[in-house]
């Protein structure tokens, strides 16, 4: 289980997280929603240690996220970045196999390539893509490669940062379905950040809404439409009128 308790983070005078408390049960798919600039990505980066919180506690299965063996801690995670964040100088298969080629359990090059090609197949890409460079792929294909890289080392926890941003609705649907399938199939704990409501309904077991630096609402995805929370209602229906200011 991932637990956050009273997590604060500010960048200069701008307070982004103002006391986030949230629990993500093991094996569940949690989706964090919220408007642009509300700190969703910062929250995720705090868990991974990419951003150091000013205050508060973050633990994974009872172990504090900071300190300890960072390599072992990070080896439990896979992450799909918003823009896929593929390494331009490497081929697709080298990107996917990046973690497999490092660390204590380093695989030889041919074995790593074999695993990468298998993971690419799992996300719907053929072996002919393996030797291309990221710049030669469409946005949707890059997202799939990013997804293949995220699952390459069979992590226990996968983070998805805005997985459908910049994709057309059909490709977004394909990525949503892939994420749901992979999360179910691998039995991982998943945390997805999005403001795409179709992604929320396709991926989530539970939903948490981040607003004004705190968790405004959290509950099962099935209860989202009848929560009675005015912030959540405004957000999921995309209304300009409501407690959330349209211009922030």
């Amino acid at each position: 289980m991932i637990a956050l308790h009273d997590v604060h983070k500010a960048f200069g005078a701008k307070r982004v997280l103002s006391g986030v408390t949230l629990e993500m049960p093991k094996g569940e798919s949690m989706v964090i929603i919220g408007g642009s600039g509300t700190g969703k990505s910062v929250l995720l980066k705090c868990i991974l240690g990419l951003v150091v919180p000013d205050r508060g506690r973050i633990s994974v299965d009872g172990q504090p996220a900071e300190g300890g063996d960072r390599d072992a801690f990070l080896a439990r995670f896979g992450m799909l970045f918003q823009g896929a964040a593929l390494f331009d100088s490497m081929t697709v298969w080298e990107n996917v196999a990046f973690r497999l080629r490092r660390g204590r359990d380093k695989l030889p090059r041919p074995a790593a390539r074999e695993v990468a090609v298998e993971k690419l197949r799992r996300v719907g890409l053929g072996p002919e893509v393996a030797d291309l460079y990221p710049a030669e792929l469409s946005g949707g294909m890059q997202k799939r490669v990013g997804l293949a890289r995220a699952i390459a080392a069979d992590p226990e926890i996968i983070f998805f940062d805005e997985p459908t941003t910049g994709l057309d609705p059909i490709m977004a649907g394909v990525i949503n379905d892939l994420i749901r399938e992979i999360v179910t199939e691998m039995g991982v704990t998943a945390m997805t950040i999005t403001h795409d409501m179709s992604s929320v309904r396709a991926i989530a077991d539970r939903v948490a809404m981040l607003h004004d630096g705190v968790i405004q609402w959290t509950g099962p995805v099935g209860e989202m439409d009848r929560s009675g929370d005015p912030y959540l209602d405004q957000f999921i229906h995309g209304r300009a009128d409501g407690p959330i200011a349209a211009v922030r």
Binding site: D71, L74, F81, R99, R102
Partner: protein
């Protein structure tokens, strides 16, 4: 009063920057000695910094050597000392112009390219991706580049020195009517080992400066194209200024009486 406050703030900001750069350079050296090592990245950096800088360093050195020969000839004619052209060209190239111009040309080409590459990686979250893939960005990105630049710059300087002396030779023989054999003999006779060695040491220091400043500014790049552009400019300007400052200090240390 506000002028004094502004000066004070600028001075404090300068001290903070010096501190950050020093810590960054220290961390890079610290990581040099601890595994994991990335030989493939090191090989790529050697090629990018060394091999691909050869044309620009060579051309710069050739024309500088030629111009130096013309200048020394014109200046020496005032004292009937035209015969010093070969030895002054050689000493000037290997002690000063070879390392400094080589360092500055590599600063323009390599510091800019390193800062732009790492800055782009930062704004596209590739550096965050490295961390999540259990790879230390300093070890993976900075160490191979800094090591490669420190090792390859002396080689570039040596090549530049030779081509610069050749430039002086070509101008001396074809334009100033020196005897080719006498020109070569004068060049070799007056050069001492430390003339060459000091230039190579300077090259290594300049290589360290260029790559460190490229990596430092790339890793601190701001968001977007403007942030990467500024990081690139800062890398070139700071490495150029540091090269000239380090050159003065090293010359003082090596050649003060």
């Amino acid at each position: 009063m506000s002028l004094i406050a502004a000066l004070g703030r600028s001075f404090l900001a300068l001290l903070a920057t010096i501190g950050r750069v020093t810590l960054f350079a220290g961390a890079t050296v610290g990581h040099l000695l601890r595994p994991p090592f990335y030989p493939r990245e090191f090989g790529h950096a050697l090629l990018a910094i060394g091999y691909f800088s050869l044309p620009v360093v060579g051309l710069t050195a050739f024309f500088t050597g030629g111009a130096l020969a013309l200048q020394i000839y014109a200046g020496g004619a005032r004292f009937s000392a035209e015969a010093v052209v070969p030895s002054i060209v050689a000493i000037g190239m290997v002690r000063e112009l070879g390392p400094v111009l080589g360092g500055l040309m590599v600063a323009g080409r390599v510091a800019a390219s390193i800062a732009a590459e790492i800055g782009t990686m930062k704004v596209t979250e590739q550096i965050d991706a490295l961390v999540t893939l259990s790879t230390h960005p300093m070890k993976y990105l900075a160490v191979p580049r800094v090591l490669a630049a420190t090792l390859v710059l002396p080689v570039l300087v040596a090549v530049g020195d030779s081509i610069g002396i050749l430039g002086g030779f070509v101008v001396g023989v074809l334009r100033l009517d020196f005897n080719a054999a006498a020109y070569m003999r004068n060049t070799v006779d007056f050069l001492e080992f430390w003339d060459i060695g000091s230039g190579l040491v300077k090259g290594a220091v300049f290589g360290f400066i260029v790559a460190t400043m490229g990596c430092y500014h790339g890793m601190r790049s701001g968001r977007g194209a403007q942030g990467v552009g500024r990081a690139t400019t800062d890398a070139v300007v700071s490495s150029s200024v540091l090269i000239l400052a380090a050159n003065f200090l090293l010359t003082e240390v090596f050649f003060s009486a």
